[in-house]
Symmetry: C2
Amino acid sequence: MLQSKLFTKTRREAPKDELAKNAELLIRAGFIHKEMAGVYSYLPLGWRVIQKIISIVREEMNAIGGQEIELSALQEKGVWEKTGRWDDQVVDNWFKTKLKNETEVGLAYTHEAAMAELMKDHVSSYRDLPSYPYQFQMKFRNELRSKSGLFRGREFLMKDLYSFNKTTEELDLFYEEAIKTYRKIFDRLNIGDSTYLTLASGGAFGTDYSHEFQTLTAAGEDTIYLSKEKKMAINKEVMNEKALKMLKISEKELTEERAVEVGNIYKLGDFYSRPLGLTYTTEEGNEQAVIMGSYGIGISRLMGTIVEVFADDKGIVWPESVAPFKIHLVYLTGNDKVKAYADKLYGDLVGRNIEVLYDDRDLRAGEKFQDSDLMGIPYRIIVSDKTLESGRLEMKERKSGEVKMISEEELLSGKLN
Amino acid sequence: MLQSKLFTKTRREAPKDELAKNAELLIRAGFIHKEMAGVYSYLPLGWRVIQKIISIVREEMNAIGGQEIELSALQEKGVWEKTGRWDDQVVDNWFKTKLKNETEVGLAYTHEAAMAELMKDHVSSYRDLPSYPYQFQMKFRNELRSKSGLFRGREFLMKDLYSFNKTTEELDLFYEEAIKTYRKIFDRLNIGDSTYLTLASGGAFGTDYSHEFQTLTAAGEDTIYLSKEKKMAINKEVMNEKALKMLKISEKELTEERAVEVGNIYKLGDFYSRPLGLTYTTEEGNEQAVIMGSYGIGISRLMGTIVEVFADDKGIVWPESVAPFKIHLVYLTGNDKVKAYADKLYGDLVGRNIEVLYDDRDLRAGEKFQDSDLMGIPYRIIVSDKTLESGRLEMKERKSGEVKMISEEELLSGKLN
């Protein structure tokens, strides 16, 4: 993409009303736009990052048998009433609105009930199970406060998968598979090293515990107790003797840390299926409630998390797997040959499907470098009088700041690290 | 994909509460689920169709300089008040809700105002124009009635592009380019022949006319006056002497037709940019309002339209460009070799990236064929005792019903028509 055509602009100053580093940097770099507290729009560069995260998660969901769907945001009151979760006293972050005929409808903050209701049309026999539908969908949560940028959205993008199993044993097996898959996802997003499976509250769903994936960051809203060595963590909300005993760990081995929840997995059992009447006939001819689980990943929150984890004082640092572009090609104003060469190099990169943002703007070098550092594309390639003379290209890795001279062939091979 | 794993089921009976053929067939075939009138969820097959439509539209939007973004559904009251479009007396299909602190917010029924407000951060000089952001996004419209299935959604998927130009001349050029691009899109969706550029009302935006793309179908909610020969149409709402004179056509040449609006393009001028203060400095140093246009395509409505246009008495008929799969591989219960051969053929097709749904279920042939006809995948390949004996495969084209025997090589080449 030509940077001269990119409609967004960077800005030097932090937006006045933004307290969170993740949103501040993403706004300054032109990746997102703040509509109101907790509500952001995604601009071309930000939407590319989101699409990269989605691709990775989608691949891994498909690999464990997930089938992609898209549920509506508008949800019927009746379905939620049956599971006792319509009342604002029970679920305090509903956005509700009304149809013209005064019928109340909700804006889904999650989809367990809708999903269970839907499955009644498709599940009747043991032969119809298991199944694992999932979606990437905007969720709405009427948060009292929303000061952490993409960490706490009133409208945010989530991946939610729901498991429908015959038995709790079948659920348990899938649950373990989901844990492995989640680890793989966080590894692919480069935050695997700082993300821990964490024992958390089971919520209202009749099980003692659930699990969260918590990524360490000072900006996180959660407190966890962590043993890095044993790769074990407990959310503060369930930190007690019972939890310690279950994990066979002593309090002394744990340190208190700030973290952000990037994923969660719940065993729901028949919490939703029983009141909604989602049952199936077993091989022996008995009618049983379907056993459910739910598996969330905060897609937009992950974008914010990656920013918080890797950013430095110059700006954002994207891991290659989610960067909006792999290469930031920057030409420095010089003689005519420089621009002509950079134009040709850009064409060659595009021709090889190497993702490149080309800063073709007629600006001072300093300004271009500042923008480039702020935007955080992994590899910056500089074309200038000097490099043209040397017959090589200057490459700067954003993460390490390391500079080396490479050949055009090396660049076009796409293997830079 | 293995049909035995697909979690959705077909059904023989029409859903009782569904009046529209498009939704009825899509529900029966397991492509969508009805949440409430005008609100549908997309199941795996339906979501695949939507993704195909999106891909085609995205390619064409990028080809004319579009940059993909994603705006929030929650919208601030203030922005819409400035353009006089918050009041329910002016815009009668708002869904509104409230933040915890009682601040009213709207669920976007369109994004002109939000988009213009956003661009104020990125446009200041003539150098920043033109630009063409677009998105695929769920829109919310509080329709009084919603009885036409995917034709009139209370929540529906739309592609909306917004043009920001320096002058009305520049807008006019882009507007013509958009018309050409829209024609290309409808051609690629196979409805080009039955879709007509139609003169329509300019709405509240200070221009006399806008243009719609109307696809002929008895199920359409609009009435247009059409000359097929001259490829000209006028929406009933603006059918008068002035319109006829403008198009240089006489009333006698036109026939009254039912149609559905699948796209629309508007010249907005400074309707939004002036009250919101979206201006730029010209090359001569003058401050001017940015000239806007908007360009919609109803993505989910298109899925319904394609169903209405092509369906026959057996079910849906997908054009290849948007079909959830290209091939429906069906094995008929016979000796062991049949299933083993079909399994291998499925693997070979997948290995060649040919999209195939494999009906590997142990069911009667009649049941499988009924499902296959209902689902509408373009090419059905039958593997049976008989075909195995003959050394060839039976291929039935869904559209024409034509049956021919082809070789495995022909099938694996992917060129079937």
